[in-house]
């Protein structure tokens, strides 16, 4: 394409457009400044990070040797890897274990090659991962009991959650 000067000044044009209005061809060539003045260059649409990630995941999932089957599911919350691919969101902390094999490549691409944490560790790493999973299972059962109006079981589960929860804030059994 031949080099254009800006229609309004001597600077080289960086914005080009051709419109057909009432059968007449209207060309526009503007420099950065004048394009900005007309509000033409303000629409710098950056892809949101979620979208980029979705594309990553999709690209990655076509590589079956690495990704494995899309129907791996998290035991805790039931999220399948295919569902994760759709929305780019994990369902619960345990999903990271369930999808560990698929995740490493994805994480390395998103985090400059890193697959492991460096940095702050909470002083209260507290209850440990297994314990956290147990709590999550029991809270799920509690929900089901309330849903089924089995208040006896619900009360029992609430007590149990209160007992095993070592969390400093009292484990939330009060609600």
């Amino acid at each position: 394409m031949e080099k254009h000067k800006c229609d309004k000044c001597d600077r080289p044009a960086t914005y080009h457009s051709v419109e057909i209005v009432n059968g007449k061809k209207i060309e526009k060539h503007l420099c950065e400044y004048h394009a900005a003045e007309e509000g033409l260059t303000f629409k710098v649409a950056h892809k949101p990070i979620n979208e980029l990630l979705t594309n990553f995941v999709k690209m990655h999932s076509q590589d079956q040797s690495v990704a494995g089957p899309g129907d791996v599911a998290c035991e805790q919350c039931g999220l399948t890897y295919a569902e994760f691919q759709e929305r780019s969101l994990m369902g619960c902390p345990s999903c990271y274990q369930a999808f560990a094999r698929q995740l490493d490549v994805l994480l390395a691409r998103t985090h400059e090659g890193a697959t492991e944490h460096h940095g702050k560790i909470p002083s209260n790493t507290g209850s440990g991962e297994q314990h956290q999973q147990q709590l999550m299972r029991m809270r799920k059962r509690l929900d089901e009991a309330v849903e089924a109006e089995d208040y006896e079981l619900a009360a029992h589960l609430r007590d149990e959650i209160g007992k095993i929860s070592t969390a400093v804030d009292g484990g939330g059994a009060a609600i």
């Binding site: 960086t14 420099c31 950065e32 400044y33 900005a36 509000g39 303000f42 629409k43 710098v44 649409a45 950056h46 949101p48 990070i49 979620n50 990630l53 805790q76 919350c77 999220l79 929305r87 780019s88 969101l89 994990m90 369902g91 619960c92 902390p93 990271y96 274990q97 995740l103 994805l106 994480l107 998103t110 985090h111 400059e112 090659g113 890193a114 697959t115 492991e116 944490h117 460096h118 940095g119 702050k120 909470p122 002083s123 209260n124 790493t125 507290g126 209850s127 956290q132 999973q133 709590l135 999550m136 809270r139 929900d143 309330v146 929860s165 969390a167 400093v168 804030d169 939330g172 609600i175």
Partner: protein
């Protein structure tokens, strides 16, 4: 809480003070945290969401994390109040627009430097926002808040992956460090594209003033880290403090000096033309105001226009946003009425200066 009180002043971060505030408008650090033993917000049952909200709210308010913390239930807010909080950068657009059956809220400190969103994408999104280049101070404050919170709440954490978040782009430290920079000279000289390329090479994101998916209006660019796994908080922070921000400031200053030397008329024309329009226009769109104010800000920081203070400019940035304008006028207005009210407000405020 009476959100109406918010409209007569700007938050601390818009004071227009702070180190290097001629180019760095504000510094922000945020942490993503989730309560252990619950699914993430997107997969939690409504009872669990409510439980997460109530526990978090109680611990945040009892923890005395910042001076005079107040709580706002977002799902009970009028849409206009939600928009007001978005314009003040206290909640995200996502938090404002989520469905009404998601119980969610935000805790805000008195001078609006601290805000904690509950049940956004993660259970907790803690933010510290400061004016000028104050990333170190912002980090210290947020780290202290995080220390206080972890004494009261058990966070989802794994040795391998660090803090666990709903989206894998945030795991590890869960930290997002960002600076909002005013880069009109780089925009004018077209060199902003070089900055964007360099930022991309450094795995940094460049966005508009309202974060993800927003356009860069008014020459305001928000630059933030994308990598949260495998690098420590201090390392990420040091990159910004010692490399990224000083370099972009230097580029912008060079571009400004080049404009003064080579095209002073172009520079002054932009500034004074904007001044003339702001002082005389009868109808004004939001994006137009931001572009014009950007030129005035450039003029003030370069000493080429002395009719207005930075503080007033920053306040106008905020007060001319749709929700602020309507709150200030005390009535709902359609876009056409807003354009007129906006132009009147600007003429009045600039006329007093």
């Amino acid at each position: 809480m009476n959100l109406g009180r918010m409209t007569d002043h700007a938050g601390e971060w818009l004071r227009g003070t702070g180190p290097q505030s001629d180019i760095v408008v504000s510094s922000r650090v945020r942490l993503a945290r989730n309560l252990a033993g619950y699914p993430f917000v997107n997969r939690a049952a409504s009872r669990q969401r409510l439980e997460v909200l109530q526990r978090s709210r109680q611990q945040i308010l009892e923890g005395k994390l910042a001076e005079d913390m107040i709580w706002v239930d977002i799902n009970e807010c009028e849409p206009m109040d939600r928009q007001l909080l978005v314009e003040r950068h206290l909640i995200s657009r996502q938090h404002a627009k989520a469905s009404d059956d998601l119980p969610r809220g935000v805790a805000v400190g008195l001078n609006e430097s601290v805000s904690i969103m509950v049940n956004e994408e993660d259970h907790l999104r803690v933010q510290v926002l400061r004016s000028g280049m104050q990333l170190g101070e912002a980090f210290e404050q947020i780290n202290h808040i995080d220390d206080c919170l972890e004494k009261r709440l058990d966070f989802a954490f794994s040795k391998k992956y660090g803090y666990l978040t709903a989206c894998p782009t945030n795991i590890g430290t869960g930290i997002r460090v960002s600076v909002m920079m005013h880069l009109p000279a780089l925009k004018l000289t077209g060199e902003i594209d070089k900055v964007k390329r360099a930022a991309k090479d450094m795995h940094l994101a460049v966005r508009g003033m309202f974060g993800e998916g927003s356009d860069a209006i008014g020459d305001l660019f928000q630059i933030s880290n994308q990598t949260t796994l495998g690098r420590g908080e201090q390392e990420i922070l040091a990159d910004f403090q010692h490399t990224v921000v000083p370099q972009i400031i230097a580029y912008e200053q060079q571009a400004r000096q080049a404009l003064v030397r080579q095209r002073p008329a172009l520079l002054d024309d932009g500034i004074w033309r904007s001044w003339a329009i702001l002082n005389n226009a009868r109808l004004m769109r939001t994006d137009e105001v931001l572009s014009l104010l950007s030129q005035i800000r450039l003029g003030v920081t370069m000493g080429r226009l002395e009719k207005v203070t930075m503080r007033m400019l920053n306040e106008l940035f905020l007060m001319t946003q749709p929700a602020h304008l309507q709150k200030l006028m005390g009535s709902d207005m359609d876009p056409a009425q807003r354009r007129e009210a906006r132009a009147t407000l600007i003429r009045k405020r600039l006329g007093q200066s």
